[in-house]
Amino acid sequence: MTNRVQYLPRVLCTLLLLLLGVVWADVRAEEPTGGSVAVVESADSEASEVAEAEEKLDVVGLIFDHINDSYSWHIATVNGHHIEIPLLCIVRSAEGKWHAFSSAHLAHGHTYEGFSIAPEGAKWEGKIVGSAADGTTYRPIDLSITKNAAGLLINSLLLVTIILGVAGWYRRRNYSIHAIPRGFVGAVEMLVMSLEDDIIRPSVGKDYKRYSPYLLTAFFFIFTNNLMGLVPIFPGGANTTGNIAVTLVMALATMFAVNVFGNKEYWKEILWPDVPVWMKFPIPLMPVIELFGVISKPFALTVRLFANILAGHTVILALTCLVFISVSMGTTMNIVMTIFSVLLSVFMLVLEILVAYIQAYVFTMLSSVFIGLSRKEHHAAHKKH
């Protein structure tokens, strides 16, 4: 019977985790509750079909509200009242003047200093537009700290704090070799070393030390943003890595590292590869294909990360919305669907934690491989057959 006693704490822990997961999923569910209640309230006076139609529309709108960027950080809507954190809008007007103001001034379609958020259906929908003197609208240069930008800044700060904290742990021990980290510092160290030993060193090759800080930064930046994107409440929840601008910058950074530090051999392989001359001389067939590869690599990196994270967020939100869609199907159906939705949401969240790691890993691995290919040594055996 000792076995049962041994397993008891483990079973209890598992149950507790499951419970926490359910609570977490419920917290996520809180967010849309307000939204749909508001919709239902406003739709009360109208015909029920219209209400249903609106409700369905609202789900899509809610998902898009989340995965798209916005000028304020929406937390919840209670009884039709939005609880949101206003963010800083920074725009440059047509006259070349910079304006900085709180996004609260633009809420509910208000116009402030000649700027407003373009309404649904209009050109530049959901973005800040300025109205020129002649009454036409234009898109100003917009460097607003949007929800995603704020999320990026928060996550960056968190990441820098964590990694510099770990580095500081060694400094506080005067870089003594006898200081062996445990706990969190040990876990970070283990993660860093597993990346360096398993991906970076084998993929990049002999001068891996030079690229290791960039690749590690890329991994931890993506990983932190992915994980923070899964946290449903305020400091997290911004869909940063699910935004194409973010992944594009990451991919361009890798492209920069690959092409700027690529050696002679790499450029020779692109511009004058080892193929019969007719394939490259009058019509540069192979060079064109190779150059296309240079561009398609960062493109693939951009889209892979962006699409994976976006899809994850969408699926989790859709599953959570199942609860509110099924309201109209009767109480029994609603209860069944709620249980189903919570279980699936928990499953998806756990899966997304895995995906958060895998996508960061894949990005780092592919970047390492691309860098490794751009640094490869000339081998004589390959030259002439």
Partner: protein
């Protein structure tokens, strides 16, 4: 469509935050962590190598000690056998010397005996001679009648005396 069109503002903030994070972490973050682990690895491998070397050295010392022990036993047995041989030799030589001594003594005794005998013989001869002279004198004095007959007698007497002396 807005999902697939990167926003300028976000691009700017992403670039800025990523560059800042990269700058901070690439300078003060990751190199310290990887450097520390590399340092630790180096330390461990050098400690292992040192331990190997120390073990080798101990083995060498042990071997040397064993060799020295062997050498010592060999030397001691050698010394022992040499001592035995020497003692044997000493005994042998002593015995030889004793033998030689004894032989020499015997020889000396023999020669002395021979000398004594010679002397005694000489003395006897002298005595015999004087005796014979005396006898001859007496005979001459008493019987100096026939030269021939007397001479024969004398010779016979001397011969007899000699024979007796020889015996």
């Amino acid at each position: 469509m807005s999902l697939l069109t990167p926003d300028l503002g976000l691009l700017f903030w992403m670039l800025l935050s990523f560059l800042l994070v990269f700058g901070a972490l690439a300078k003060f973050g990751f190199p310290i962590i990887t450097g520390m682990v590399d340092k630790r690895r180096e330390h461990i491998s050098s400690a292992l190598a040192e331990a190997d070397k120390a073990r080798e050295r101990i083995e060498n010392v042990e071997q040397e000690a064993r060799k020295m022990m062997d050498e010592a036993t060999r030397r001691s047995s050698e010394i022992l056998s040499a001592a035995v041989a020497e003692s044997q030799q000493i005994v042998d030589s002593a015995r030889e010397r004793a033998d030689a001594d004894a032989a020499a003594r015997i020889e000396a005794a023999k020669s002395r005996i021979a000398i004594e005998k010679e002397k005694a013989l000489g003395e006897m001869r002298a005595t015999v001679a004087t005796l014979s002279v005396d006898v001859a004198e007496k005979i001459l004095r008493s019987k100096l009648s026939t030269e021939e007959g007397d001479k024969a007698l004398i010779d016979r007497l001397v011969e007899e005396a000699e024979k007796r002396a020889e015996r």
